[in-house]
């Protein structure tokens, strides 16, 4: 066994641990691979470390994944770009393992290295690697090869380019669906590097094959290829070749394919241009909005706003709006919910008149939906409509909806509506709030569920921020402070919590004159939990109020608490006292 100089000891340990039994230690060593490489020097890294890693291919996935990642940035450690090709063999092996994430990472690293390699090295080393993987015995190698063509292709000489295109075509017809899926996924990237002439012939025929694959999962991925390919083609070619495919896909037998189209159609519109969008894609989209599978309608409904935005308002009103009306009474609550989450965005697209005339009834009916998510989704996007038509038209329907949600028996629904109260308050204005919502905010402070009380306290603070301390003093603080005398200690605790949140917002003066007396009074509560929470609140108030107040009011109170019979109260009181001393010292 060799003896190692003292300063090298940590590195020696690192190197040894490349083969440790403990996977965490191996992982740690791999993560430090660059340190090891620098310790070994460039030449030994090339001649020893890299071959060592190439053999180390039956390790756990985590280690292989880390290796693949490290090798991607290893070019400097092997002596720069001219030696980059020595990194290919270990990554080639990693491209063949059966764990998908390891392969993906290896492909990513290979692409990163390939992008830096010199042209001749690519021809000598990288392209042969791609070809080897593409003809690999196991499907795993062939799957990986698909993601490397776009790096290999541009620097290949003409003959080799033809060969690469042929090989890619074969991969698209591989026996294994996994390989075809990978070929479909990477087609867009590869196509972007192929010359226009071959794009229209070779790539399009490959694409046609994929769109007619009998595996649904392959066709699904071909849908994604449509948008990418469409952007590469001239508009007239796109209309001639891609458009029919899209229209076909939108009527595919498989709902999953149609679902993909519904999700992608918006991007496809950009590729085919406005004219064809109008004549071909709008009808296709309308069909998807009326699909008999709810999943497809959900996907389509979620895109109505985006889609309307690229159409003219007239087209949107003529074609999309009737479907939107139907969807607002869809039998599936998820469809209605998806629609409600985006429909408010249609208001700016359609303009004021059309919104009032056409959209408003839909908003109102969705606000009365039996499913709370739908109502919440409408309320959460209120600001978008407010800008177009003002809130007044909605406010009459809004209030019952809000009240109903505020009293929903599911606390998560109540929680969701509380989150939106500050937004509503800012949109509806002080007057509306004072009349209608103030009482609700107080009611939540006495909710049966802690999370709601907690959110309600936070809500009070946000309202004070929104409307300012003066308004708060007039409209909410008195009601809040009243509750400090509630017979239930949990509600008293909520108020203490609210006070600690309000104090920084309301400022020194209000805090010391209005809030502090209540807190000090609460220190005489009979429940210890209240008392130690008083200590905590006082601690949070100390930095806010004048020092004289601390000395005259807070400290004596804390001192008293620090002699309480209850151990927890004493603990928090002394903690608060300590921090008050620290504040004093630092100031």
């Amino acid at each position: 066994m060799a003896m190692v100089d003292q300063p090298l000891y940590p590195i020696a340990v690192l190197i040894d641990e490349l083969k440790n039994e403990d996977i965490q230690l191996r992982l740690n060593s791999i993560r430090r691979l660059s340190t090891i490489a620098r310790a070994l020097g460039e030449e030994r890294t090339r001649k020893e470390l890299i071959p060592f890693l190439s053999e180390n291919n039956d390790d756990d996935d985590e280690v292989l994944l880390a290796t693949a990642e490290e090798l991607g940035v290893f070019v400097p450690y092997v002596g720069g770009v001219e030696h980059a090709s020595v990194l290919l063999p270990p990554l080639e092996t990693l491209c063949t393992v059966e764990e998908t994430c390891v392969r993906d990472k290896s492909v990513e690293s290979l692409c990163r290295i390939g992008a830096q390699m010199r042209e001749q090295d690519l021809v000598d080393h990288f392209i042969p690697l791609v070809k080897r993987l593409a003809s690999g015995e196991w499907f795993t190698a062939r799957v990986s090869s698909c993601g490397l063509f776009h790096i290999a292709y541009p620097s290949a000489p003409e003959a080799l380019k033809t060969e690469l295109r042929t090989i890619y075509g074969q991969l698209c017809q591989d026996d294994m669906p996994m390989v075809r899926r990978s070929a479909a996924t990477n087609l867009g990237k590869f196509a972007a590097t192929v010359e226009a002439a071959h794009l229209k012939t070779d790539i399009m025929s490959v694409f046609d094959d994929l769109t007619q694959d009998d595996q649904d999962s392959v066709r699904l991925l071909a849908v994604e290829g449509c948008a990418a390919l469409g952007k590469l083609l001239e508009p007239q070619d796109c209309v001639a070749h891609i458009l029919p495919v899209i229209v076909n896909f939108s009527q595919d037998k498989s709902w999953r394919v149609r679902y993909m189209v519904a999700n992608q159609l918006y991007e496809l519109c950009e590729a085919v241009g406005p004219d064809s969008t109008k004549t071909e894609l709008v009808p296709a989209y309308v069909r998807l909005l009326r699909d008999n599978e709810a999943e497809v309608r959900i996907a389509a409904a979620g895109k109505v706003t985006k889609f309307s935005r690229i159409l003219s308002p007239e087209l949107a009103i003529q074609h999309i709006l009737p479907c939107v009306k139907e969807l607002s009474t869809d039998s599936s609550q998820h469809v209605r919910s998806a629609l409600a989450s985006v429909i408010m965005g249609m208001a700016p697209v359609l303009g004021k008149d059309a919104t009032i005339e056409q959209l408003l009834p839909i908003f109102l009916s969705l606000l009365k939906d039996e499913f709370p998510d739908v109502r919440l989704n409408i309320i959460s996007k209120l600001d978008q409509v407010n800008q177009v038509i003002g809130i007044d038209l909605l406010s009459q329907s809004l209030l019952p909806a809000i009240v109903e949600l505020a009293e929903d028996r599911h606390w998560r629904v109540r929680l969701a509506i509380i989150e939106y109260i500050p937004l509503l308050a800012s949109q509806l204005g002080v007057g509306f709030f004072d009349d209608k919502l103030g009482a609700l905010c107080m009611q939540w402070l006495k909710d049966k569920v802690y999370s709601i009380r907690d959110a309600a306290a936070n809500n009070v603070k946000r309202l004070a921020e929104e409307f300012g301390p003066e308004w708060a003093m007039q409209h909410i603080i008195p009601q809040v402070l009243d509750m400090i005398n509630d017979p239930h200690y949990l509600y008293r605790m909520t108020i203490l919590h609210a006070i600690s949140l309000l104090a920084p917002v309301l400022g020194s003066e209000i805090t010391s004159t209005n809030l502090l007396p209540l807190v000090v009074n609460a220190a005489k509560d009979r429940v210890p939990n209240i008392k130690f929470n008083v200590a905590k609140v006082l601690q949070s108030i100390i930095p806010i109020v004048e020092e004289s107040v601390v000395e005259s009011t807070i400290k004596p109170c804390l001192v008293e608490l620090s002699e309480d019979p209850d151990v927890d109260v004493r603990f928090f009181a002394s903690q608060a006292l300590q921090s008050s001393d620290q504040v004093k010292m630092s100031s």
Binding site: V4, Y9, P10, I15, G41, P177, D216
Partner: protein, 513 residues
């Protein structure tokens, strides 16, 4: 395409019945030896190439066998072991490895014991010389990888291992190294690595060396790659891989879920037959299988004797079937047992996916998926039991779930019965082949007549059916000589050859023709 023997379609004249011969037995019991409950085989499955065979048992173990006679097999570079049958051409298997797939568990929320028994095994796509399979018990499906791993011996360490073993031993080294933690996550802090500006000499440090690995031999290692759990309220009765190579289904009594092999934390419910009110429940799912080539078609069978074909393209939740296959019962034949014995215990697609084979308690039925008016053919498995249904009901045997299988070329079907018997029928047009075999070293010693003969003549042959290991014991007064306890539930047909593997309690018998 990878690693498979090419399928050799049997070219025998279909009318010529096969002559079955004993090939191998694994785990044979000596006469009178008690069977351990945990050793009883509960699942058998050949892989697609026919080079591997897996069995699962009630003890939660999975045992793998590999073919030894095939020339182009992958993964085995070892010399063929010399066996007594080395010169033969029929499939020969040898024990490859075994592993504990499932352990008994307890569901504390429902106060339910979860048995470790392996209900089903399915092979997945082979890659890189490793084999992959799914195994399931009542609740949890697991994805296994079995690979040959080099046994590593590491030499050439920088640090003398005697000084550097274990936690903190390096702290004896007075310099900067703090004890390294077993938890590698925090070891970043415990080492003082040379920082990036530490200057290494340009040629590197010659005193450092990489550990070298000397491997002498390989060993087989099974590793659980994924666990698909908590998706079934009822007992899983089947799992089946999709032809797309990335998804599979799992079926329990009331629901079928769709999984992606790579995603273990979510599945999609695609069939749900649970009524809103459980009192309205009249029918449960008994078995489900994907079409061998159409990725969007699957079939499931029910306890009422129907088979439903589902088109996954139609909708996300397949409440409505694309096709329904059931046989109208003959009028007047109805009895108390009609519904019980109609329950289908297993369905299998034939290789091309045109036909479905189903097994109910008394018969095997072959269905053409293009003909939903009735089965193409019906084979009676043990008609002589019909008068005894009452006894079978009383001892619960009537609820036994027999599996069925088809030959690779689809010309023959097979299924099990009691007394360790199994039957092979020819299903090619015009074939009258109906063979009865016994899972023993002498499969043809019992000549049970074909079902075409009147059942009365069965009396004679039955007298010769005797309990294993106790030859020549007589028949009891009622003639109930066949043995309810020795039932042959599980069997599988080799995908390309005439070879059948079947389970008799803890023993795996292999036959060829």
């Amino acid at each position: 395409m990878n690693g498979g023997d090419d399928v050799v379609v049997a070219s025998e004249e279909p009318l010529q019945p096969l002559e079955w011969k004993f090939s191998q037995v694994f785990g044979e019991r000596a006469a009178g030896e008690e069977v351990q409950e945990v050793d009883i085989i509960s699942a058998i499955e050949f892989d697609k190439s026919g080079n591997h065979l897996a069995t699962g048992d009630r003890g939660g173990r999975v045992v793998l066998f590999e073919r030894t006679d095939s020339k182009d097999q992958h993964g085995s570079r070892r010399d063929l072991e010399s066996t007594d049958y080395s010169s033969s051409r029929h499939p020969e298997f040898r024990y490859k490895t075994e592993f504990q797939s499932h352990e008994p568990e307890f569901d504390y929320l429902k106060s339910l014991e979860i048995e470790e028994k392996i209900n089903k095994i399915k092979w997945c796509q082979t890659a890189n010389g490793s084999v992959f399979l799914l195994s399931t018990n009542d609740k949890t499906i697991k994805f296994w990888k079995v690979q040959e791993k080099k046994v590593k011996k590491i030499s050439d360490m920088n640090i003398d291992p005697s000084k550097a073993i274990g936690n903190g031993s390096s702290s004896s080294n007075s310099n900067s190294s703090k004890p390294h933690l077993a938890n590698g996550g925090s070891s970043d802090k415990s080492y003082n690595y040379p920082s990036n500006d530490f200057s290494f000499p340009p040629g590197g440090l010659p005193s450092l060396r990489l550990p070298s690995v000397v491997s002498h031999e390989t060993s087989l290692l099974a590793r659980c790659r994924r666990v698909y759990a908590h998706a079934h309220d009822y007992h899983i009765n089947s799992i089946s891989n999709n032809s797309d190579g990335e998804t599979f289904i799992s079926a329990d009594d009331l629901r079928i879920n769709l999984w992606n092999l790579e995603i273990s934390n979510q599945s999609f419910n695609i069939v749900d037959v649970k009524p809103t009110n459980m009192e309205d429940l009249t029918e449960v799912i008994t078995s489900a299988e994907f079409h061998p080539t159409h990725c969007n078609t699957l079939a499931y069978s029910s306890s009422k004797g129907s088979i439903r074909l589902i088109d996954l393209r139609q909708s996300a939740l397949c409440d409505s079937h694309a096709k329904l296959f059931e046989e109208q019962e003959a009028p007047g034949s109805r009895s108390f047992f009609t519904e019980i014995i109609a329950s289908i215990s297993d369905i299998k697609f034939a290789k091309e996916g045109r036909y479905i084979l189903s097994r109910d308690y008394m018969t095997l039925k072959l269905w053409d998926i293009n003909m939903d008016s009735g089965p193409v053919s019906t084979f009676r498995v043990h008609e002589y039991l019909r008068p005894k249904l009452c006894d079978l009901y009383e001892n619960d045997s009537i609820f036994d779930k027999f599996e069925c299988c088809l030959s690779g070329d689809g010309s023959r079907v097979s299924t099990g019965s009691y007394s360790n018997l199994f039957r092979v029928f020819g299903c090619a047009p015009g074939s009258t082949e109906a063979t009865t075999l016994e899972a023993s070293k002498n499969p043809t010693r019992r000549q049970v007549p074909t079902p075409s003969r009147p059942s009365r003549s069965l009396g004679n042959s039955l007298t010769r059916v005797v309990r294993r290991g106790a030859e020549n014991t007589g028949v009891d007064a009622n003639g109930n000589s066949f043995d309810f306890t020795t039932k042959l539930l599980h069997l599988a047909w080799h995908p390309s050859e005439n070879s059948i593997a079947c389970a008799a309690a803890n023993s795996l018998y292999m036959y060829y023709a």
